[in-house]
Subunit: 272 residues, 4 copies
Amino acid sequence: MFGCSASAQVKTSRETKGQYLSANMAFSVGVMSAMYLCKGVSGAHLNPAVTLSFCSLGRVPWVKLLPYALCQVLGAYLASGLVFLVYYDAIMDFSGGNLTVYGANETASIFATYPVEHLSLSSSILDQVVATAMLMLCILPLDDQKNSPAPDALIPPIVAVVVLGIGMSMSSNCGGAINPARDLGPRLLTLTAGWGTEVFTCYNYWFWVPIMAPLLGGMVGSGMYLVFIAWHLPDLPTNPPIDSSSTKPTTEVWKQPPAPVKEGVELKTAIF
Amino acid sequence: MFGCSASAQVKTSRETKGQYLSANMAFSVGVMSAMYLCKGVSGAHLNPAVTLSFCSLGRVPWVKLLPYALCQVLGAYLASGLVFLVYYDAIMDFSGGNLTVYGANETASIFATYPVEHLSLSSSILDQVVATAMLMLCILPLDDQKNSPAPDALIPPIVAVVVLGIGMSMSSNCGGAINPARDLGPRLLTLTAGWGTEVFTCYNYWFWVPIMAPLLGGMVGSGMYLVFIAWHLPDLPTNPPIDSSSTKPTTEVWKQPPAPVKEGVELKTAIF
Amino acid sequence: MFGCSASAQVKTSRETKGQYLSANMAFSVGVMSAMYLCKGVSGAHLNPAVTLSFCSLGRVPWVKLLPYALCQVLGAYLASGLVFLVYYDAIMDFSGGNLTVYGANETASIFATYPVEHLSLSSSILDQVVATAMLMLCILPLDDQKNSPAPDALIPPIVAVVVLGIGMSMSSNCGGAINPARDLGPRLLTLTAGWGTEVFTCYNYWFWVPIMAPLLGGMVGSGMYLVFIAWHLPDLPTNPPIDSSSTKPTTEVWKQPPAPVKEGVELKTAIF
Amino acid sequence: MFGCSASAQVKTSRETKGQYLSANMAFSVGVMSAMYLCKGVSGAHLNPAVTLSFCSLGRVPWVKLLPYALCQVLGAYLASGLVFLVYYDAIMDFSGGNLTVYGANETASIFATYPVEHLSLSSSILDQVVATAMLMLCILPLDDQKNSPAPDALIPPIVAVVVLGIGMSMSSNCGGAINPARDLGPRLLTLTAGWGTEVFTCYNYWFWVPIMAPLLGGMVGSGMYLVFIAWHLPDLPTNPPIDSSSTKPTTEVWKQPPAPVKEGVELKTAIF
C-alpha cells in the first residue's frame, strides 16, 4: 500500500509550466495510472472520501478505513516530497528562494489547495461537498452490474475523465481537492519543507475544509445514488439462468466456467 | 428521474474560469457521466430533442414525451440552481452584484445561451437545426445493430466526444444549446435568481429558438438517418443462425444463453 | 453514399472561433462520427487517397474508385455549402463582406487549405506525401488481423485520434489536407460562393498539390506498410485449430458459430 | 525493424506551430500509432529504456538489447531527418538560416531535449529517473494478468495517455525525453544537419543525461513495481480450472480453444 500510493500519487500533486488545463489533465492521467497500478494489490484506494463512502455502503470493512486513510496521506506526502525535489530548482528560481502562501510569487498552491480571495467559508464547503458528491455519483454506476456498467478493464480511464471533468468545472473556487489525502499530504510537505505554519493558518485556518467537506460530500453522493438510482434499478436475473430442462453435460459447459470469472470481476471492482 | 437529471445535469450548465474549450469538455464529460448514471433507471433521457426523435422513430412511447421533457427542464433548473449557489461568490465578485444580460460583465450566458450581435434570426435557427440534426446523425448509428455499432458499454464516452465536437464547432453563433432542457431550465433559473425578465425578452424574444430549433433539428436528423442510411443497410441475419443439422443438445448451448443477453442489450440501448 | 458523405463531412470543413487546436479536434470528431455513420452502407469511404490505396491493395475494386471519389468531392461541396450558410453572418461580419484569399481578413482558408508564404512547392508536396503516408501507416495496422489489431468497434475513435495527431503536427505548412475531397470540394464551394477564381489561381495554381500529393502519399504509405510490416508478419493460424481427435458434436459447437462472426468482422473492416 | 521505427518515430521528434500542449499530444499519438504498427513485427520496442527494463525482467533476451537500441536510434535519426526536410522552409524562415542551440531563435530544441537555464545537473538526472520510473510503473500493470490489466487491444491508446501525462508534467525541466533513442537520434541529426557540435557540448556536455538517466529510471521503476506491486499480487488460478469430474468431451470444449488464445495474448503483450 505504501509504495503503491507513493509512486502512484506522485502525479496527483503536481502543477508544471503550461496551461491550467494541463494540470487538470495530468491529475486525471495520474488517477488512471494509479488505478491500473494498485487495483490488484489494494483495490486502488486513493481517496479517503471514496473509501469512507465504500465503508458506509458496506463494500469495505470499517476497520480498514483508518489504515487506508493514513497510508493515502503518507503516500501523498512522499509523492509531493519527490515532486518538491524534482522541481526544487524551478521553485527556487520562480520564488526567488522565498517560499510563501500569499502573493504573486507564491508557490504553496503547487502542492495543496487554497481558496480564492472572494470566497466565503460556506461557499467553499458547499463547493467541495458538491464536487465530491458528483464524483461519487459519477463513479458508482460504472461498476454497478444492475445499472449499465462500463467495461471493467476500462474503468480507470473513465474515472480519469470524470476527474478531469470535475477539475475543469469545480476547481476555480478553491482548487478542487475532492480528496483529503491529496490535500493534507502535500500540505504537510509544505509545512516541513520551508513554507512554515502559514500553510495551515492562512485564510483563517481554512485547511480543514478540503479534509472534512469531501468526506461529507462522498457520503451525500453515495446516499443520493442509493435513493435516486440504485433503489430504482431492477434486480439482476440470477445469472446464468439455470435451465433445468437441458441435458446435464451441456449445461455444465455454461454454468461452471463463467461463474468464477464473474465473481472475480465483481470482487475486484467492488473496491476500486 | 428527478434526482437523476438534477444531479447529472449539474455539469451541463456551467462555465468556469479557464478556456472556452474547457467548458465544451466539461459539458461533454457531464453527458457521459449522466448517461452512465441514468441508463439503468430511465434510459438516459437528457435531451427533449432526442426523446422527441426517439418517439417519432417508435423507440419511446409518445405518452412519455411530456413527462420526460418536464423532468429534464426541472432537472436542469435544479442543477443550475446548485451551480448558482456554488458560484454565488464568484458571480457576485465578477459582476459587482449587478446581474445583467448585456455588457462586458454579463453573467447570464453562464447559464442559458444567447446569440452573438451580428446573427440574424434565420441563421440562428439554421444553426440549431443543423447542430441537432448532426447530433442525431452521430448518435443513431452507435447502437444500430445493422450498421457498425460501437460497444454498448462505451456508448456514453463516444456520445460525449460527439457532443464535444458539436460544442467546438457549432457553439460560436448562439451557444450551441442543441438541448431545449439544457437551455430553458437554466434560463428559468436566471429569471428567478435575479437577472429578471430580460433573459426572455432580450434579442427580441430570442429564447424560443434554442427550444424549438433543436426539436426540429432532431426530427430532421432522424429522418435523414432513415432515408440515407438505415433504409440502405442489409437486414441482420437472424442471429444465431439456426443450424438444424447439428445435434440438439449442443445447439441449445449456443442458442439459448446468448439470446436474453442480446435482447437485454437492445432494450437498454434502444432508449439512451 | 451522397447523403452519407454530405451529412458526415459537414464537420470536416469547418473552422470556428476558438483555438487552432479546436479545429483539429472538431475535424477529428467528424471523422469518427462519419465512420460510425457510413461503415454499414458504404464502408466509410471518406478520402479518395485512402480509397485509391485500398484499390491498389486489392481491398476495393478499381471500378468503384471514380464514383466514390466524385461522391466524396460532392459530399464535401454540399457540406461546406451548409457550413457557409450556417456561418454566413459570421463570415460577412468578419470579412466586412469582402471575400478574399489573401490578407488579414481572408476567409478562404475556412474552407480549403493554402500554404504559408515561405513554403516552396517541393516542400508542400513532400509535406502532403509524408502526412498521407503516415495516415495510411497508422490506419492499416488497425484492422490487420495478422498484426495486433484494435477492437473493430473502436476503430473509428482510434482513427480519429490519428487524424488529430496528423492535424496537430502536419498542418502548419499547408493546412494538412491529406484528403483530396476535403480540399477540392470546399474549394469549389468558395469558387461558386463569391471568392472567385483566385482560390484556384493563388500561390501559382497551388490547388493541385492537396489533390495529387495525398493520392501519391497514400500509395507510398501502403507500399511501406506492405514492405516493412505486412510481409514480416507471421501467418495467422487457421482459426480455430481443427482438433480432429475430439468428438464431433462438441467440436461443432466451437467451430461453426464463431466462423461467420469472424468473417463478418473482416469483411466489414476490410473497407473502412 | 528499421522501417518500423523510422516510419513510426517520425512523430516522436516533432514540435510544430501551436501550443506546448499540442506537441505533447502529437508525441503521444505517435506512440499509440507506432505501437499498433510494430507490435506484430517487433513487439513495439520504441524505447531503449523500456527494452532494458524488459531484459532485466526476463521478458526479452539480453542479446536483443543492443541491436534493438541501435535500430531505435537509427529510426529516430531517419525520422527526424524526414521532419527536417518537411519543415526545412519553416525552420529556415524562423531562424533566418542560422541554426543555433542558444538564443531566442534557437531551433535545436525542435529535435533533441535541452535543460532550462536554472537547472542543476543533479536535478535534471533526478527528473529523468523519476519520469522514466513513472513510465515503467504506469505501463507494467497494463498487461500484468495478475493485476487488473487493460484490454490488450487498447493498450496502445492507454500507453499514449500515460506518455501524454508525463509530457504534461515532467517536460518543463529538461524536455522530458524519457527515451534515449528519441533524444540521441534527433541530436545526431542536428549534428549532421548544420547545428554543429554545440548540440553535444552545450550545457557542459549535458547530452548524456537523457541517455543514461532514462535507462536507470526504467530499472528503478521496474524494481519498484516488482517490490511494491508484483510480489503482493495473488497467483493467478490455473485458468481454466481443470474440472476432472465433468465429462470428457464438454471439458475439452472449454479447455482447449481458449488456451492458445491466452498464450498468444501473453506472448504478444509481453514485449510491447
